[in-house]
Structure formats: C-alpha cells, structure tokens
Subunit: 131 residues, 6 copies
C-alpha cells in the first residue's frame, strides 16, 4: 500500500475531493492514481503538488509529450520505480512511440555516463561555456 | 585543468587526431572542448565515447534539440557543473530559447520533487502501470 | 533474503552475539532486524556500524526523534526502500506523528526540487553565504 | 552569474516585484538572494516556488529550525554547493548551533553509508516494517 | 517483465542474433540475461552497449575481477536492484569471495558517508590536491 | 575554507591531537588534509570517522590500491569534487597508474549508463540472479 494508506474518493474531505475532481477533469479520466491517494493525507501537499504539476506540464514553449518524456528521463535517472511506471504510461498516452522511448533512454544512459567521466577526470569548464 | 591534463591537436596521436577531426567535421566547428581533450589520454575511451555520442545525438525519432535538452535535464539533475555549462551551450546552439530552458528546468525540478514524495510515502505501483 | 543470507542469534559467533545483545539492550527489544543479520557475515562491519549508529543516534544537541526523521529524510531522498521502511518504523516508535511525517516529506520534496533549479540555472553563491 | 543572469528589483516586472516584496516582508530582510533573481526570468516558476517554500517552511508540526536543518541535510546529501551555503546561513539564522550542525552532518553521513550497505547486501524488508 | 518486453533468440532480427551470439561466445554461456533481451528492441543500443561493455570489461591494466567489483560498487551506490543482482553474480563468477564482497561494501559505504561530510562541511580542496 | 573553519594542530584539543598523530603515523606523513581539520570541531565524529577509515582501508582480502580506486570510483560517481581530488592523490600514492585510472573511469561511466538503461526499461531480475 503506502505509509499512510490510500484515501478513496468516497472517504475524502471536501478539499481533497476538489483536487480529485480537477485531476479527473484535466486528464479526462475517472481514475485517480495511487500517488495522489497516498499524499491526500496532507491536503495542503496534495493541492500544491497537483497545481504545480498542472501548471508545469501544460502546453507551453515545450509540448506536453516532450515534458512527459523529460519527466520519464529524470525518473529513470533517479531509479524511481513508481515514477518510471506511471510516467511511461503518461508519455505513451501523450503519444510516445517505442522508438522515441528507446532514443530517450539512450540519451539518459549516455548523459549519466559522460557526467561521471567529466567528474572523475576533473574537467575544467571551457571559458566559452562560462556564464 | 584536469586529472591527466589536456591533449592538444598538435600533440595528439594519429588515432586521437582522427576523432578530433570527426568532431570538428560533424559539429562544423574548429573547436575541441575540454572534455574530449581530457579523455584523449585514453584513445579507446575517446573513440568509443565520441562514436556513441555521435550516434545517439543524431536526428532520429527525436530531433537533436530535444535530445540536447534531455541531456541538459539529466546533467542538471545530477549536478554536473561542466556538463550543465557545455550542454546549455549545445542546446542553445540547437535552438533552445530562454523560455524553453525555463520550462525544462521546471519539469526537472518537479520530477525530482515527486520522485522523493513517491519514495518517502512508499507508494505502490498501480496495477494498470505494471509491465 | 540477502546476498550472504541472514545470521540468526543461535548460529552467531560470540562477537556477533555481543553486538546483537547490545542492540537488543539499547533498543529494549528482543528483535534483531534484517539489516544487522545481513551484515553479520562481516563481524568487523557489524560492530563498527552498530557502534557508529548507537553513538550518532543517541540524545545530544538534537533529540532522537529529530535524528530519526533526518535519517528517514535522507533515505527517502536516496530511494532506499528498506531504509525508508525501517526508519519510518523507528521514527514512529520515537514519536513521529502522521502530520510530522507529511511535513518532513514536503521539505524533502522541495529541497530536491530547488537543488536542481539551482544547478540547472547555474546560480552563483551570494558573497554573504560564502565561508 | 547564472544561465540567464540576475533580475534586480529595479528592472523587475510587477509580478516579480510582488514576489520580491513578499520574500522581504516574510523574511524581514531587504536582501533578495541570487536564487530568486536567477529564476525570476520565469515569473510563473518564481511565484510557484516561493509560495511553495513559504508554505512548506512555515511553523507547523515541525518548527522552522528543524525544517531548515532537514533542507540542509538533503542539500548536503545531494552535494548542491549553493544550497548548502544558503541553507547553512538560513539554519543558523533560525538558531542552529555548531553542535547541532555537527550532529546533523553525522546523521546525514551515516544514513548515506547504511543506505548503500542495505542496497549492496540486498537486504529484504522485514515483515514488520512492510506497509 | 520490462517496458517493451523481452526479445528471445528465436524471434530476434539477424543483427540482434549476432550480438546474442557474441555475448554467448565471449561469456562462454548459452544464457542471455534479461537486460540484453529488454534493450534488443533497439538494435543500435544493444550493439553499442554490448561492444562498449565487452571492450571496457576485458582484461587490461585492471583485471576483470576488479572491474566487476567496481561495477558492483557503483550499482550498489546507485541502488539499482537489477544491476546489483546481476553484477554480484558476475563478480562471483570472476572469483569474488564473500570476504572480498564484504570489504568492497565497507568501502562503498564509507565513501558515501565521507562524500557527504565533505559536502556538508563545505571543505575546500587542499592546494596539493589541485590539478 | 569550510563551514566551521579548520582546526590546526597547535590549536587542537588533546583528543583531536591524538587523532592527528595517528593519521600522520599511519600514513607516514606530517600533513593533515583539510577534511580532518574541518570535522575536528566535532571530536567524536573525527575519531569515529578516522578509526572507520583506518580499519576499512587497511590491507585485507582486497589490497589498499584496489580500495583507494573503489573510493575514487564512488566519489566520481557522486560528483564530490574534494573527494575526487583527494582520493586521486591517495590512489596515485598507492600506485595507481594513468592507465589504471582511465580504465577505472571507463567502468564507472559504463556502470552509470547501464544502471539507468535497466531502470528506464524496467528490467525484471532474472531468476538465476535472485538471492
């Protein structure tokens, strides 16, 4: 389950239901995934986290598919099993193909490799890259 | 500098020069950045790393700008100063606007936040997300 | 199980039993959790680790509840499933309420978010914060 | 400096000034630190991040000193230089003594050590710790 | 299973079979482990990753046992469950004893501890260690 | 400098001097590096950390050079600048050649790459690797 268990819609406080309603309306689904039900024990965190995610993941200068893929990339790099599973689903729903997934993972792997080569070799920043 | 110092073109072995030449030709520049000059002490690693980067970052199902932005996202998440500086430059060269950069960072920050909420709350994977 | 399996009290060497005895006496329990039984194959590591934990987690300028919550915070940030489970139990035993847990997680999440915004935006340290 | 540079109060848009004003009022200072000036290029992220920090770090079931120390603990664990410097200052302002700092670091170090022993030894979660 | 499932030898494309054949010949086994079958959906990544691993893990200035132990050390530090399990097996096959495993883990744990003490205490690099 | 500054031998308490003396005797040097001088403000942590390092890094089933290289590998993977600098020096003093360094870094980079491919592809552990 989860440390504090899950809060189902039927058992939720009005302020939690309001967030659940907005999640379902925004995502055009009748499903609330476990993450939200786990943090709903803290209504302030639930509301703040959802509103942040909603704002950040909306279409902007980057389209939602790209944002979902970046989210999946970070989650893969951090090794967060739940996050990888849920954002793989979300990215696919947003249109990610298997080939795009594979290319994304190749970049994630490569970046993690060269990040460590740079650290280990103590590479100094080129003057032209300094801000 | 770097642990083993930098190898300049003039001092490089033929197999190192061949990689430097390919980097400059592929990137249409006459500049070799410090990373390559630092790892050139190990020609096998230099060649392997460059060929991997070249293959992975080429246009495919994801375009090069997106790939550079994912590279920057991972480097930011890992806190690799050199990598952030060099891939910010590379992403800008590939067309990243300041607004795209800011949206990218917002996703990176958010993913790192929710990854830890998920771990700390011990959220179980929804059946529908399981592979 | 664990890479080397678990060493039960009945099968333990005298120096391992001595550590087990001290864990049970210090914690006022008759239960040895899996972590200690897994590393008991290396009596030097068992003894050193237990003595360090015992010293560090004792009451001092910070009380044991705060120390357990920091331990849980770090474990959540690192995504160590076993550590999160065991230190959630320990923090609760030391008096952590559900509300304290939720506030702790909110700080852990936020710190992980802003840590990456800082890295990605390459923010320079303010002179007044330099040591 | 920072990737996009710093936005000073005199040059800020009204919505950025409003956040700066709230930071100064809340913290009872006339100083805006570099982090906020670096992310002010994205007013939505500035506002969202500040409001989240303000909500999370306010007194609650945990007092502000403890929250600042947890923030510092996570930043130390992540190796974020800017965050360590700024939150050391913030924790001290909230009352952290040198002895509390030293005990905090001891817990951070120990947790990072045992987190890896647990992973490497592949320790299975005790039934009594499962949620 | 895995995000894209596993590709078995019987169902594999010729270029995938060629890599599988080389893995089995190099490792003198008739077993292909899940990692390779999971990434085989992207033949370019499969081929590149295998050739890199083969080159890097071959005998050189460091012998293969040491290399496998370093691989296991990094995987333990990163908390990658699959990697820990598979590289524990590989290191044992290369000759790692239980005592060597235990000493390796002690170093991994200690390094993770002092890495954070260094960060948290903001220790400046000694002049004599600068490159 | 460091958060609490450095404690020089001349200004040290007797229990700190005793540790400094043992470091110098064990390492056959008259130099105390900054790490120890930074944590000496907390004599208990200084003593505990030094005794742990001394025990762990001593010759055993793994020789000191291998242990220093593993320490450097972890520090590079974690991106700890101070630790990389100081353990590069220590590993060289213990006999690490430039070629061994380069091979070590290649393994560190590769492990970090495949750790993320494994996570991102959600690869299930092979039955034969389970403990």
């Amino acid at each position: 389950m989860a440390t504090l268990g899950f809060i189902e819609y039927a058992d939720a406080l009005p302020e939690v239901r309001a967030v659940y309603d907005d999640i379902m309306a925004t995502r055009q689904t009748d499903y609330i995934n476990n993450f939200w039900k786990a943090i709903a024990h803290d209504p302030a965190t639930l509301k703040r986290t959802w509103e942040s995610v909603k704002q950040i993941m909306a279409p902007g200068a980057l389209d939602p598919l790209i944002k979902e893929m970046v989210y999946l990339a970070i989650s893969s790099s951090n090794g967060c099993g739940y996050c990888i599973a849920s954002h793989t689903a979300a990215a696919r729903k947003a249109g990610m193909s298997d080939t795009q997934f594979a290319e994304l993972m190749a970049v994630v792997g490569m970046a993690n490799e060269t990040n460590r080569l740079v650290s280990g070799y103590q590479v100094e920043i080129d003057d032209r890259f300094k801000v």
